[in-house]
Symmetry: C2
Subunit: 432 residues, 2 copies
């Protein structure tokens, strides 16, 4: 069997009028007497095959009526164009089944989310889930392109780590031969070590938080891209973040028109991405939130509801700067004008979505950093190697991390983060 | 401070004769009376700065003598070219220190490997380690480019999994709230589910094996790229693998000349990559090995020493096909002409390096696959969702997985895999 000589559905337009061969699945079908219509999918696109008794032997046509939803098939037929639309279809001249599918459990009727998540290995085939993963793929590729074009070297941080990266709660424990270790919450601390060798570095891998909160924004396993830069300040850092997010959204708008239509995503707000992002301080955010009914105070972090209220007021991402230092991580440098505030920014997606990036200037002074570690209830001896980075040629540096699933969820306009990743993990979900 | 206006060492050639500003570390230095030579590194490249008493105030020159190895510095100076070589250097007109480094523990004297691995966060700065990570970065980027150009969609497989992917030994156990789960040994089974939606898919992430064997080829945490293709056979599969590896090696040869020179890598064998790879059966490999002193038999897997002996006989990668089915994974399809053999191939790097890719046709028949699961001592109920893929539109399919660190180790010509990854994890190594 020569699979390589067959064509893909996305290339049908290059073969108008020709007889071609292709492999696909029948994702839907209907028939009326002497003619059947097979809706085909092959991963590259969607098309329709017309199976007519006039074009096939009696025996072959009889076989065609055995087709079921999700049956896999090899087809030979002529490529025709829809008279009015940019759509192509195939008049079948011959076919063979790879496998006639058993009755497909995810039929067209409505299913509950638990049933769909239990059948995630099949649900991924639906057009909507196909579109989400294609957009996720575009975002990943756009990120790699941007990082390469901007001189970032990929430095893969380890997943198995002896200590907490961010905080000592939310840690997953791993039995490591005769010891205990933890799953990484962030690669940031590790990749900071590599800026001294490479200047600009990033990682992009899975991270883990034993989140007990069951919200539409949380997973226990999610993909994070961390970037760190030597010789930088917060202004430069935010400029890089803005350009990176712009490049990812622009790539999706350019390459995934079909997918965005399938998801019925209103792209008007996404198109604002070329405009400068909004920038407000945490204090301003608190003032706006209180005007809109929140009881948040100036020393508190934004809760999930606050993020929803605030970001619904905006039509483009919003940087919130100068958070209270006490609610942020120990490694953040303090603002030079107000030492109770961190030299940091979170980037929130509009339309109610909320935080997608967190970043800051990092504390580069050895004594100050050691003091912070103690103040935050952590042990300096657990961070000996991280403290070393402030002994041997310390430099002003900073970085940021984005949550891939948060970005996919926003760009796709999803209600819940669980659809943004192929196989979601939450407190109650570890299968399939 | 305007960091963005400064230039990078790699761009010095574009500023010949100009006065520029740049930020860097002094990785080495020497001085003789009225003149000092600072060897600089900024992540983008290496250069030399000449600090002369003639060009600086007395006070500034006195300050310059405080410089130590790994001191971080901002420099202003004129760019000059070496009269004979393509090398650029800077005549310093002004400078300031970010931080005068404490005595750097990794000086020029020889250190033992344990000391270097304990100080991995600093060792990464050495030229040799810089070169390895730059090459790793090129390989990663070339892989993403190839997968995109060949219509593969990235599908991130989960790391936290309820069952074994490959075998039930070598599993790391994770406490997951009130349950136990395991760290993924391979993403393959999960991404197989996605071929039905996307045709060609891949993942690229960390995988985990609780390897007790302490060899130069094994890590407990390593990065794997798994690819799966619908509608394929082993011949097509091997063709894709050959093209992928060729594209990665070619990218390194093109983009990392400086790095390969630093590593003193003989590139002659790497340049053979444009020639067709060797292809022999497992039986032939056994015959050759026995002629060369091994006592391997026809039903055994190649051991580490066998891989070393065999691959030293070749000057380009070698596919070994038709392994005994019993020593391979349960999901491999059997060879149609000899059902005791798997329809599979491992790809071995030459020069004594050994296995870098493993791949096979996957068993697509439900009943056969279920039988194999039982034969291999696994429980069908643990693989219910994986078996489902053979019920609903099963198709001929296959795939492969490469170990990133194995490829980096070979291309860089390293003695041991531990240098190929930023922070290696082995049975005795979990820090830093």
């Amino acid at each position: 069997m020569n699979f390589m000589a067959k064509i893909k559905i996305k290339n049908l337009k290059d073969h108008l009028g020709e007889v071609v061969e292709l492999d696909a699945w029948i994702y839907n079908l209907r028939s009326s007497g002497k003619i059947s219509f097979w809706q085909l999918r092959d991963g590259s696109g969607f098309t329709q095959a017309i199976v007519s008794a006039d074009d096939l032997s009696e025996e072959k046509f009889a076989l065609s009526t055995k087709a079921t939803m999700e049956t896999s098939v090899s087809i030979k037929g002529k490529v025709n164009k829809h008279p009015k639309k940019e759509e192509y279809e195939i008049s079948v001249e011959d076919f063979s089944f790879y496998q006639i599918s058993e009755e497909y459990p995810i039929a067209k009727k409505e299913h509950g989310i638990d049933f769909l998540m239990d059948n995630r290995h099949l649900w991924l085939r639906s057009k909507r889930q196909w579109a989400i993963q294609k957009i996720r793929n575009t975002i990943i590729n756009a990120c790699y392109d941007f990082m390469r074009d901007n001189d970032f070297t990929k430095i893969d941080a380890p997943i198995l780590t002896p200590n907490a990266g961010e905080n000592t709660t939310d840690l997953f424990e791993v039995k490591y031969f005769d010891n205990k270790v933890y799953l990484s919450q962030t690669g940031q601390l590790y990749i900071e070590a590599a800026i001294f060798a490479h200047g600009r570095v990033f990682d992009f891998g899975p991270t883990f938080r034993a989140e007990k909160s069951k919200t539409r924004r949380h997973l226990t396993e999610f993909w994070m891209m961390d970037a760190e830069m030597a010789f930088t300040n917060l202004a430069d850092n935010l400029e890089i973040q803005e350009k990176l997010l712009r490049s990812m959204v622009s790539a999706v708008l350019e390459k995934n028109k079909t997918e965005l239509e399938l998801l019925e995503r209103d792209t008007k707000i996404l198109e604002n991405i070329t405009k400068p992002f909004y920038k407000i301080t945490h204090k301003e955010a608190v003032r706006i939130l209180r005007e809109n009914g929140s009881d948040i105070t100036e020393n508190e972090d934004l809760g999930g509801d606050d993020e929803t209220i605030l970001t619904k007021l905006y039509d483009n991402p919003i940087f919130i700067t100068n958070y209270p230092a006490a609610i942020k991580a120990f490694y953040m440098k303090r603002n030079s004008e107000d030492s109770t505030r961190a030299e940091c920014a979170d980037l929130l997606a509009p339309e109610g979505y909320g935080e997608i990036i967190g970043g800051s200037q990092r504390e580069e002074n050895y004594d100050t950093l050691k003091k912070r570690i103690i103040e935050f209830g952590l042990k300096p001896e657990d961070y000996d190697w991280y403290l070393d980075l402030r002994k041997y040629g310390s430099v002003p540096h900073g970085g940021f991390g984005f949550g891939l699933e948060r970005i996919v969820t926003w760009i796709c306009g999803l209600q819940h983060i669980r659809e943004s990743i192929p196989f979601a993990r939450t407190i109650y979900r570890i299968k399939p």
